[in-house]
């Protein structure tokens, strides 16, 4: 019985790993379409991964063991998160190991080491990106947690399964002003956390403007594959959270793909229609997100569900 549960938990992780590049591919495809381009196939991300995994890698002579362990740490922390999040079912076998806080803090582990790896090779670009990433994250994390807290108070549980279950039980009744405010706040944070326009430009080649790309500038070959893949899994997990927390109906395999697709389209639309913010406007965006969450919280407390 326990074994089957653990097996199911593992299966969920395999599912996330397998699907993550596809979601990335779909977003890229939609963005290409918006740019009037045909764009690469939606499976291009898989080909990229295989290419990276086959390649030799170049490592900086300045790199210490921090640089070498970071890809491993990114991968294992994101996979561990994958074990805690309800994906295609409400219950998560390993969900007892951690709640929403653990999810956020495991992402923080990932970021912590990526930022260190950015500093490790001694180039100004890595340091620049680390510094910016930590600035954005410092503001995004409270915004994310506050929106999760508001949901937790709605659902009476901070456990992700519990939250999803409760919200699913509430059905359509869940749609309230506070819920919608939290949704908007959450989307803003997800944009920041996944390094998307208007916060970061994932397709830029300009080192001076990079955030996420800058930190992994020194990575190549197999390590790069791990870093990219972890980032995509993280993205999919955040999408999954969005899908399951804000559309907590029909949580099963059949409805999962369309929900994720809708989110992918939403993200691609946002990315295509706004310019990247000036670096010191990003805090404003995240402040808005925080403010929305606070508003949601107050609405929730005063008005109830």
């Amino acid at each position: 019985m326990i074994l089957t549960k653990i097996l199911l938990g593992l299966l969920q992780i395999v599912f996330l790993m397998a699907l993550a590049p596809l979601v990335q591919g779909i977003i890229k495809k939609i963005k290409a379409l918006f740019q009037s381009r045909r764009g690469p196939s939606i499976f291009q991300s898989y080909f990229d991964l295989i290419k990276f995994l086959k390649k030799d890698q170049v490592v900086s002579e300045q790199a210490s063991w921090i640089f070498h362990i970071t890809p491993y740490i990114c991968m294992i922390s994101v996979l561990t998160v994958g074990a805690l999040v309800p994906v295609i079912g409400v219950s998560v076998p390993l969900g007892f190991a951690g709640d929403a806080l653990v999810v956020v803090y495991l992402f923080a582990v990932m970021r912590f080491f990526m930022a260190l790896a950015g500093l490790d090779t001694g180039s100004a670009f890595g340091g620049m990106a680390s510094s910016r990433e930590m600035m954005v994250a410092s503001l995004a994390e409270p915004a994310l947690l506050l929106s999760l807290f508001t949901l937790a108070l709605t659902a009476g549980s901070l456990n992700l399964s519990g939250m999803v279950q409760k919200l699913a039980d509430l059905k359509i009744a869940v749609i309230s002003p506070s819920y919608l405010l939290v949704f908007v706040a959450f989307v803003m944070v997800v944009l920041a956390e996944t390094g998307r326009i208007p916060v970061d430009n994932p397709t830029t080649h300009l080192e001076l403007t990079m955030i996420h790309e800058g930190m992994i500038l020194e990575y190549s070959g197999r390590y790069l594959a791990l870093m990219e893949w972890s980032a995509w899994i993280k993205q999919l997990i955040l999408f999954t959270l969005l899908a399951n927390l804000f559309a907590p109906w029909e949580i099963h395999l059949l409805w999962y793909p369309p929900k994720i697709l809708v989110l992918a389209i939403l993200v691609a639309c946002i990315e295509s229609s706004v310019a990247k913010l000036r670096l010191f406007r990003i805090p404003d965006l995240l402040a808005v997100s925080t403010a929305l969450s606070i508003l949601a919280l107050i609405t929730l407390v005063l008005k109830g569900l």
Binding site: T203, S272, V274, R278, F280
Partner: protein, 534 residues
């Protein structure tokens, strides 16, 4: 017109004047005594409001036993109210003795001269005495000292030994200050240039740019080519101002050979010059969107640029309008159906470009990125002799097409857009307005296109004559100066591109901005490395 200034000058500096001539209309050449040169330059610059447009060093030892320096000034009318054609060029020339290869620097008074003087030092070995920053410019540390490629006794095939020395960058002191090196190898397809930022975190304290990584020896090479082949070299000084450079070259030689090219050729040249401006400006506006991460805007801009380049291809056979110009006119004519093709394409472009501008330039996130970013003050622009879009965005009302009309620009009416903010947004808006002006110019020209020949055959050109050829390229004034040699060859070919004068302004604009805004600022100038690094 020139006379008034000339009279003033002669009364002031009569003791220093050796000779004067007007080989071609609107160009006055005055030979002065070396010791008085700085004084006259300052007089022209400070009292007459002239601006330094070029400075040439030439090795004329085989001719008269010395080096010669030429200072080119553009004399202003007063404001744009002065009738067209009222401005003219004044050239001071002085001899530099071979035994004392040095001259007094005018940079302390006219910052615009600082690159010219350093370049002369590198290429001709004449030392600018009193230059505030006499470091190497054109030739880098891997080039040995004592080899001066523009001297006549330097064979163009010489391969000097490689050396290595350290180049000293300016060091900003203070705890926590560090340097960000960007380039010369960039991640994208960008030409080589090294930018050294000194900063504490995001705010830039100082920027030093180092260019000239790929000195091509264009000017030296031009001296060994017959003028007919030199044209193709001029066409390839840069990828995107091809037609402007070729036109400058042809115009200088046509002046020297003293020939009048057919009216139709003037009209067609003007049309092609404006087509060149069009695709550049449309592309630049799209490219700004790449800098702000507005991907759709970038894609749409690229799309329009591609349409314009396909138009170029269809009417001239080359996307960069190459192979059209020749000394004496044009090599290929424009058929009636191509004339109609241009008109219909431009009408479509005009509509679509307007629609695009309405969408991207009023997006709040986009405007926030562009406005107040990278401000070039009018004073700095004036001091450095900044030209083109950058000058007009900073309130300097200068445009060669209006101020020194050439080709058929005196036949059309157009507006020179002017803004005073000097920020990225202003530069973009200048480009946008110029796009519509260009379309208007082309339409006017196509409507009144005279018929007739397009070319006069030029077989040979007289030796030891000189003249300026100039065009207002999409980036600003390209000023070529040619001195001919026997055998229809060139004795000295000095190319002063718009990018060359605008580059020194970029590092002055950047401090105070944040690091991630630099690419945007740089894009808004959109300067060419190839034009600079000849």
């Amino acid at each position: 017109m020139t006379d008034t200034y000339f009279n003033e000058l002669t009364t002031q500096f009569s003791y220093a004047f050796l000779d004067s001539e007007t080989p071609v209309p609107d160009e006055l050449y005055i030979t002065v005594k070396p010791e008085a040169c700085v004084g006259i330059c300052r007089y022209l610059y400070e009292k007459c409001g002239a601006s330094l447009v070029s400075m040439v060093g030439s090795d004329e030892r085989p001719l008269n036993g010395g080096f010669r320096l030429y200072y080119f000034f553009s004399l202003p009318g007063h404001g744009s109210s002065v009738p067209q054609g009222s401005r003219s060029f004044v050239n001071l020339q002085m001899k530099v003795d071979e035994r004392h290869p040095e001259f007094t620097s005018i940079t302390p008074y006219m910052p615009a001269a600082h690159w010219y003087e350093r370049e002369i030092q590198d290429l001709l070995g004449l030392k600018p005495v009193g230059h505030p920053d006499p470091r190497r410019l054109v030739l880098h540390e891997n080039w040995p000292k004592g080899f001066y490629p523009l001297r006549k006794d330097f064979d163009y095939k010489t391969q000097p030994p490689r050396t290595s020395e350290d180049f000293e960058m300016k060091r900003v002191e203070g705890e926590g200050v560090f340097e960000i090196p960007v380039g010369p190898v960039h991640a994208g397809i960008i030409e080589p240039g090294h930018f050294r930022f000194s900063s504490v975190g995001e705010k830039i304290l100082n920027l030093e740019a180092r260019l000239f990584y790929k000195h091509k020896g264009t000017e030296k090479l031009a001296e060994i080519l017959p003028f007919t082949k030199g044209l193709f070299l001029a066409e390839r000084i840069c990828g995107v101002c091809s037609f402007s450079h070729a036109t400058s070259y042809c115009q200088a030689l046509e002046k020297i050979a003293n020939i009048q090219i057919p009216e139709r050729a003037h009209y067609l040249r003007t049309i092609f010059l404006e087509l060149e401006r069009l695709y550049n400006h449309v592309g630049d506006v799209g490219n700004i969107c790449a800098g702000t991460g507005l991907l759709v805007g970038n894609a749409q801009g690229m799309l329009l640029k591609e349409k314009l380049m396909e138009l170029n291809e269809a009417i001239t056979g080359n996307r960069y309008l190459r192979g059209m110009n020749t000394v004496g006119g044009l090599r290929r004519d424009l058929s009636e159906e191509k004339r109609i093709l241009i008109l219909s394409t431009l009408r479509q472009i005009q509509k679509e470009f307007k629609a695009l501008i309405d969408v991207i330039m009023f997006l709040s996130t986009q405007r926030d990125r562009l406005e107040t970013t990278g401000i070039l003050s009018q004073q700095v622009a004036r001091d450095l002799g900044v030209v083109g879009v950058a000058a007009r965005a900073s309130g300097l009302d200068s445009d060669l097409r209006r101020d020194h009309p050439y080709a058929a620009y005196d036949k059309v009416s157009f507006k020179v857009p002017l803004r005073t903010e000097g920020d990225v947004s202003a530069r973009v808006w200048i480009r946008i307005e110029e796009v519509f002006e260009s379309i208007r110019i082309i339409e006017q020209l196509l409507d009144t296109l005279p018929s007739g020949d397009i070319r006069v055959e030029v077989k040979e050109i007289p030796p030891y004559k000189y003249a300026l050829g100039y065009t207002e390229s999409p980036r600003g004034a390209n000023i070529h100066w040619i001195m001919t040699a026997p055998d229809s060859r060139l004795y000295r070919y000095k190319i002063r591109s718009a990018s060359y004068v605008n580059w020194p302004a970029v590092p002055l604009v950047v401090p105070g901005n944040i690091v991630p805004d630099f690419p945007l600022i740089n894009k808004s100038f959109n300067l060419c490395y190839s034009c600079t690094d000849l």
